[in-house]
């Protein structure tokens, strides 16, 4: 066997003198070793499993339970609103219910469940075995499941958030919401932020780096395009709300007045940051659903997608344009009309990619001979409902029209059309479509039709009248109304049909429960789908072997695919290291680059998530001791986790099957770790940018206090000193990398030590600088903004110093050497980001007051 060829037969792979790791020492064909490596842990240890199929199913089930819970809240609210003046729910309970309905539906159902579908399906759609960071998925899931449950159960103790899911200060500030309710909301969102950022890292790196060989960007299943865009949006958008949350909690806990107008803060700052995330959020929910629709349609139309290229570019367009819409939610705040109009125009532009998608889907139906099964029914329902939601979206995007309908039931109708139409209907299509893949049995076609028609009729009859209710003057978030306002009949109809909708959901639940016993056996590829996931057996290793891909519709266009896959004639039919493995491929071309070893079952992720959840929850409830213990456990878990990365690996090529040998390790930009860090840093940059935005925005709101009277303007000496120290620390890290390449361990260690000293010095200088200037964090928004920005940068420097110590320790223990140096290089990325950003932030804080005063 020649092992010097790469996957394309070219003799380019630098084999050198390294031996090739052959697995063929025992077992007939490697299947046994695959099965052992990917075996599920037994019984209670199931919480240690990190495989995407396992986590994905749990994730979806949890998300669906939250959907049911928040749905019950909606039904209770509809009972209260059925007649004027009912006292079924009192004001306080009602306020908690609508706040939790929105929060749970958005943050605990919609976003997590689309991420969950991606975690479950993407690896098999991309023809690989797992996501690149399985433990990160597990951490995201457990943090979300535990944290979400805690937040939801606050309802039973009457301490649920009651400020609306949008949590506008000053209502949610320390003065008007002194209770714990708001903190519970911040806590819940914290968990969702953890899981969302984890998912973003996982999805971006997974889609770009772990596809089947030969699967170029243009051959990815269209769902991967949609998820790539979605993950990118989470990466940029989520940090804005993380920043807003941090500022809110700083105001609530420490009195730093970001939103308090009496101390120079501005309530609109929250609205900007919240909607900067909150509007893209709608598309973060919609795009994965659109991607699933695009995956299912060809199976039922019996035709390839019309306009794959168009859908890919439409997804990208929506992803970008959705960030130009946030003021969309602030049209009534009295901002200058010109500013509003910019956003109105940008909102309109998004109609083009939306139009392209809708018409591409319809054209796909025209192109084939559609087979009307339950998933297609839900897809047609989606097209109808979502079109109406999109059109009312054009209406609310029209500034003056929005002045009438904003915060009325018209808007309630609009976004339920968008979200239930654009996300819940595709989700139910997906449930019917992919359940056989997971359970091996079909859901009932008959019950499915019942579920669809009840949901479709119930939905439209409940929500269509709400447009009129809103136009006739009914505002949102009121727990009752007077009988003389002309809303009575409309509300009765909405309430009655909301139960019809619920009946449809209930039938689906019954179907899910009973199909495990009585459902028809699905067999292989029951929908005759063109995509790869049906080749995978969805337990353990998934594919017997990783198939080379030459088409967007491999199952339709690559004859013999299934047979070759099952026979193990593809890549990686074995486990050469006897552990879980996957192929790493080039982000654009899909050339195989490397075999990575993936972590198997382990307690790290579960423990880290549990301890984090317990610590944050105890902190919120004021149980300091428990919080500190849990925090310590969490810290140990995270450190252990990090310690276990960048493992010692044989410095050999391994047999990837098909006569190809690939390295097991990469220490540069080829590695998934490097890509993961880049994604994380982009998110981090967005958080810092949000703080910088807060600083500049607060100036536009209160230019007179920049700085407040009596404070001297900051000088440039200390910022220059700090920047110089940080720059030298960064350069030393760069030098350390070069020295390490030449195995100069002592000199490398010296570089690390000096970096630590410099970073510490920079922090001390910064601290004394601010004290010298007399800038106080709680007196006025200027001081609060300055302290937050500089505190953030100090935290970055401290982490940078921690990384230097970390590298020093690993170097001393021989865990970093000239070849095994990925840890060092990932830490280097941190410094490459931190040093210039610190200098920029300092320049702004020192220079801006001079410019404006």
């Amino acid at each position: 066997m020649t092992l010097t060829r790469d996957a394309y037969g070219k003799e380019t792979l630098p084999l050198g003198s390294a031996r090739v790791l052959h697995p063929q020492s025992s077992g007939p064909d490697g299947l046994e070793r695959l099965a052992v490596a990917w075996a599920l842990p037994r019984r209670f240890a199931f919480v240690t499993e990190v495989n995407n199929t396992h986590i994905g199913v749990l994730y979806i089930a949890t998300g669906f339970l939250f959907f049911l819970g928040a749905g019950v809240l909606a039904l209770l609210m509809r009972i209260q609103l059925a007649y004027p003046g009912l006292a079924f729910l009192d004001a306080d309970t009602y306020n908690q219910f609508f706040t939790m309905h929105g929060t749970v539906m958005m943050f605990l159902f919609a976003v997590p469940i689309v991420e969950a579908f991606a975690v479950l399906l993407l690896p098999s759609l991309l023809g690989t075995r797992d996501m690149p960071f399985p433990r990160l998925s597990a951490l995201g899931y457990w943090a979300y499941a535990i944290g979400g449950t805690l937040v939801f159960s606050s309802l039973f103790f009457g301490i649920a958030p009651d400020g609306g899911w949008f949590m506008y200060p000053p209502l949610t500030g320390p003065k008007f919401s002194p209770g714990i309710n708001t903190d519970v909301w911040v806590l819940g969102l914290g968990f969702v932020e953890i899981s969302a950022v984890a998912a973003a890292v996982e999805l971006i790196v997974g889609i770009l780096k772990t596809r089947a060989p030969g699967m170029t960007l243009g051959r990815m299943p269209i769902f991967a395009w949609y998820m790539l865009v979605t993950a990118g949006m989470i990466m940029i958008g989520m940090p804005a709300v993380i920043a807003a949350d941090i500022l809110l909690e700083l105001e609530r806990a420490f009195g730093m007045p970001f939103y308090d107008a009496t101390k120079g803060g501005d309530p609109l700052l929250w609205q900007h940051l919240f909607w900067l995330f909150g509007h893209p959020e709608v598309y973060i929910i919609f795009l994965p659903a659109a991607g699933m629709v695009s995956m299912m349609l060809p199976s039922f139309a019996r035709a390839k997608l019309v306009g794959y290229n168009w859908l890919a570019l439409a997804a990208i367009s929506v992803g970008f344009l959705s960030f130009g819409l946030w003021v969309h939610h602030m049209f009534t705040t009295g901002l200058p009309l010109l500013s509003l109009a910019f956003f109105s125009a940008a909102s309109s532009a998004i109609a083009i990619p939306m139009g392209i998608q809708v018409f591409a889907w319809i054209a796909t139906l025209w192109d084939g001979k559609p087979v009307l099964r339950v998933p297609l029914l839900f897809i047609l329902g989606f097209l109808f409902i979502f079109t109406i939601g999109g059109l009312t979206g054009v209406m609310v995007a029209s500034v003056p029209y929005d002045w009438q309908v904003h915060d009325t039931y018209f808007v309630v109708a609009h976004f339920h059309y968008v979200l239930i139409g654009g996300m819940v209907f595709p989700l139910f299509a997906a449930f019917y479509y992919w359940t056989p893949l997971i359970t091996g049995r079909m859901l009932s076609e008959r019950l499915g039709r019942w579920a669809f028609w009840l949901m479709f009729v119930g939905f439209n009859a409940a929500f269509l009248p709400m447009h009129i209710t809103g136009l006739r003057g009914m505002p949102r978030r009121i727990y009752t109304y007077s009988g003389e306002l002309g809303w009575n009949w409309l509300n009765v109809i909405s309430s009655a049909f909301s139960f019809v909708f619920a009946a449809g959901v209930l039938i689906f639940v019954v179907d899910i429960i009973r199909h495990r016993r009585v459902g028809r056996k699905a067999g292989y590829n029951p929908w005759q789908a063109p995509s790869l996931e049906w080749l995978s057996n969805q337990v353990g290793h998934g594919f017997r072997s990783i198939m080379p891909i030459r088409s967007r519709y491999p199952v339709w266009e690559q004859p013999g695919l299934k047979e070759d896959e099952v026979a193990g004639r593809g890549f990686l039919p074995d486990a050469p290291t006897r552990e879980r493995e996957a192929l790493v491929t080039g982000p654009i071309t899909g050339e195989p680059e490397q075999i990575i070893r993936l972590p198997g079952p382990g307690w790290t992720a579960f423990l880290a998530a549990t301890a984090t959840a317990a610590g944050l929850a105890a902190g919120t409830l004021g149980l300091t001791t428990i919080a500190m213990i849990a925090g310590a456990v969490a810290a140990v878990a995270y450190l252990y986790w990090l310690w276990s990365t960048d493992r010692a690996l044989p410095r050999q090529l391994a047999d990837a099957g098909r006569g190809v040998a690939l390295p097991l390790y990469s220490n540069d930009s080829q590695s998934v770790g490097w890509w993961g860090m880049v994604v994380l840093l982009i998110s981090d940059a967005a958080v810092v940018a949000s703080f910088a935005f807060a600083y500049l925005f607060l100036w536009t709101a209160r230019p007179a206090i920049w700085p407040p009277a009596g404070l001297q303007l900051p000088g440039f000496l200390e910022p220059a000193l700090i920047s110089a120290a940080v720059a030298v620390a960064w350069v030393l890290f760069e030098v350390a990398d070069r020295l390490n390449q030449r195995d100069r361990r002592l000199a490398t260690s010296f570089c690390f030590i000096v970096s630590v000293v410099l970073a510490g010095g920079a922090i001390v200088i910064g601290w004394s600088w601010l004290h010298g200037l007399g800038i106080e964090a709680t007196r006025h928004s200027y001081g609060a903004a300055v302290w937050t920005l500089l505190g953030t940068m100090a935290l970055h420097l401290a982490i940078g110093a921690g990384m230097a110590l970390w590298c020093l320790l690993r170097l001393g223990l021989g865990m970093i050497d000239s070849w095994r140096c990925l840890t060092l290089r990932i830490c280097l990325l941190w410094w490459r980001f931190t040093a210039p950003v610190t200098a920029l932030v300092l320049l702004m804080i020192a220079g801006f007051p001079h410019v404006v005063s």
């Binding site: 770009l208 990208i316 130009g324 010109l338 500013s339 198939m547 030459r550 070759d564 071309t589 536009t700």
Partner: protein, 126 residues
Amino acid sequence: MSSLELDNEIEPRSEMGTLHRLLDPAFGFFVWAAHFLVVYIMTAVACVLGLGAAGEGVRTTFLTVLLALTVAAAAIVLLHAVWRYRQHRDLPEQRFRMVVTIGNDGIATVGIVWQLFPILLVPVCA
């Protein structure tokens, strides 16, 4: 071709880096985003600095600057699209990326040009 073969139509190593090639199809939207932010921030800052109370001449000058920025941004995006269209593209994969690039550039151009409506129709700081 059996299901096991990879086609050899893999594009030759490009002189553009991986990150550049990944982001180039969205070029139009980076320009769109930059233009959008610049125009929005300029307006916000100008209103804080009292443009609303300034004379007709100053306001006209301000709008002319916004107009020029918009035209320039649209022109840059269109030029990028033309440039990508003229580059040779033999492989389906390169064609795919070209279509996505040009399509994105097109939608971004519409997004930029539509900003002319507010600039031309709505008074500053009202």
